[in-house]
């Protein structure tokens, strides 16, 4: 947070000069947010890049005081979430709901620099893969709350700010998300249910509703 405040101050005195630091600091997290929301690397690349560019243009047009007061982490996250939402809407318009198998493939990406995955055991990769796929089966609102809170690591207050929802709602959505993820993971790990008969993607949570 402190580095964010310092960065906002630098941006206020010159957006062009300080913007490369924004890119260096935030590109991985914005890409991760977009990837876990959308499940597609190419889409995530475009959304993360677009989010950075839009942030740059917005800051260039804002008065200095407004730039200085920016809370970069939730602000950049909210731009990314909105772009991802628009993209998903476009996809939904032209494509039937995606099947589980391609999502499993697309959702998993090994860390290229070893920072986020010091151990790359097969078990761990498998867990990542299944978790990424399970995330994509949460409702968009719950998924956004979970991704911001636990993949990106924002505080509940920051998630509330980024998503424009009350903190109480965020807490409930995160709680619900964790519970649904656990159920999805258990279900996916059962051999008889696993890849041969995935739950219908159009209503991914039907089974969970029944469990409740």
């Amino acid at each position: 947070m402190d580095s964010d405040t310092a960065l906002a101050a630098r941006l206020a005195s010159g957006v062009e000069a300080a913007f490369p630091a924004v890119v260096a600091e935030h590109q991985d997290r914005l890409y991760s947010i977009a990837l876990r929301l959308l499940g597609d690397r190419r889409d995530a690349e475009e959304v993360a890049q677009d989010a950075l560019v839009r942030a740059f243009r917005a800051m260039r047009d804002y008065p200095h005081e407004r730039v200085a007061a920016l809370r970069l982490r939730p602000w950049l996250a909210s731009i990314t979430i909105n772009l991802a939402r628009n993209r998903r809407r476009r996809h939904d318009d032209r494509q039937p709901p995606a099947a589980l198998e391609p999502l499993l493939d697309a959702g998993f990406e090994p860390a290229s620099d070893g920072r986020s995955a010091p151990s790359t055991s097969a078990d761990r990769r498998e867990t990542q893969r299944e978790l990424a796929a399970a995330l994509l089966r949460l409702s968009p609102a719950v998924r956004a709350a979970i991704v911001l809170r636990h993949v990106d690591g924002l505080s509940v207050a920051e998630v509330a700010e980024a998503l424009g929802r009350p903190e109480g709602t965020i807490k409930a959505q995160v709680h619900r998300g964790l519970r649904e993820l656990r159920t999805l993971l258990v279900t996916a790990s059962e051999p008889s249910v696993s890849h041969r008969s995935p739950m219908p993607a159009a209503r991914p949570l039907a089974a969970l509703e029944a469990v409740r």
Binding site: E16, E45, V53, S112, D123, Q128, L135, L178
Partner: protein, 270 residues
């Protein structure tokens, strides 16, 4: 397949597994954002009448054109001259590629955004004026100087054209020495300049012969209008009606009016 041990059952384990889903962005994400913001550039090769050329661009427009060659040398020169980072791309954005192709084939109404930050208003005025010269025609340095209201700055016009960062896209090759000789060219000297002018349909041998014979302006004895020799109006004059003048004074003394298209009159001030 999955063993029960890999399933994160506790909240802590699940949260740790979610944190584990953070990944590094591919380099194209951050660099692409810097390019769009105009804080770094991409480049790719295109075909031109002078062979392959590297074209650099960013979110503001085309920033650099030079003959294709060793990539490292090109990148180092760009970084030093422009002060921004640069990386190769597979190809130009489709719209830009099409626009440049149309410009090179002679369309004048094509809009190509240019990033000319860091250059003086005088340089930009010179380059903008060069854009007005139609394909297949040439004008002397002095014409540019006069047209931009700096009639005495002929030498500075030559320097500005030599420093044109986007040759071919801004056709500095269409500006020749005030004595009508072909003059220098940043994309590879006078020979390259002759080649690109020839590719635009200009007979450079004829042009240089005219210049050597002191024929600096061409008039028609039917219309009593005089032009630069390469002006499309001058080239419509048949040999029988063609007259030549060594300078403006001679044309004026003969009672000829300057052409409204190629505007040889502004030179009088020089």
């Amino acid at each position: 397949m999955t063993t029960a041990a890999t399933i994160p059952f506790t909240d802590q384990a699940l949260e740790a597994a979610l944190r584990d889903l953070r990944v590094a962005a591919p380099p194209s994400v951050g660099f692409g954002a810097l390019v769009e913001a105009g804080l770094a550039d991409c480049y790719a090769a295109i075909e031109t009448p002078l062979g392959a050329a590297f074209v650099a661009w960013n979110g503001r427009g085309v920033s650099w054109v030079s003959p294709a060659g060793d990539r490292r040398t090109f990148e180092d020169r760009f970084r030093e001259a422009v002060g921004r980072d640069i990386a190769p791309a597979e190809e130009l954005p489709a719209r830009l590629r099409r626009a440049i192709a149309r410009r090179l084939s002679g369309e004048r109404r094509v809009r190509i955004p240019l990033d000319l930050r860091g250059h003086t208003p005088f340089e930009v005025a010179v380059w903008t004026k060069a854009l007005e010269i139609p394909r297949g025609e040439v004008r002397p340095y002095g014409w540019i100087a006069a047209e931009i209201g700096r009639p005495r700055a002929v030498r500075a016009v030559g320097t500005a054209l030599a420093h044109n960062p986007v040759p071919l896209v801004v056709p500095c090759h269409r500006v020749v020495r005030s004595d009508g000789m072909i003059g220098q060219y940043s994309m590879g000297g006078p020979d390259a300049k002759r080649r690109v002018l020839a590719s635009e349909g200009l007979d450079t041998r004829w042009l240089e012969a005219e210049a050597a014979a002191g024929k600096r302006f061409t008039g028609s004895d039917t219309t009593h209008i005089f032009c630069h020799p390469t002006c499309r109006d001058a080239r419509r004059v048949t040999d029988r009606h063609r007259v030549s003048f060594p300078n403006l004074r001679a044309a004026a003394a003969a009672g000829y009016r300057p052409c409204k298209h190629c505007r040889p009159v502004a030179l009088a001030a020089a």
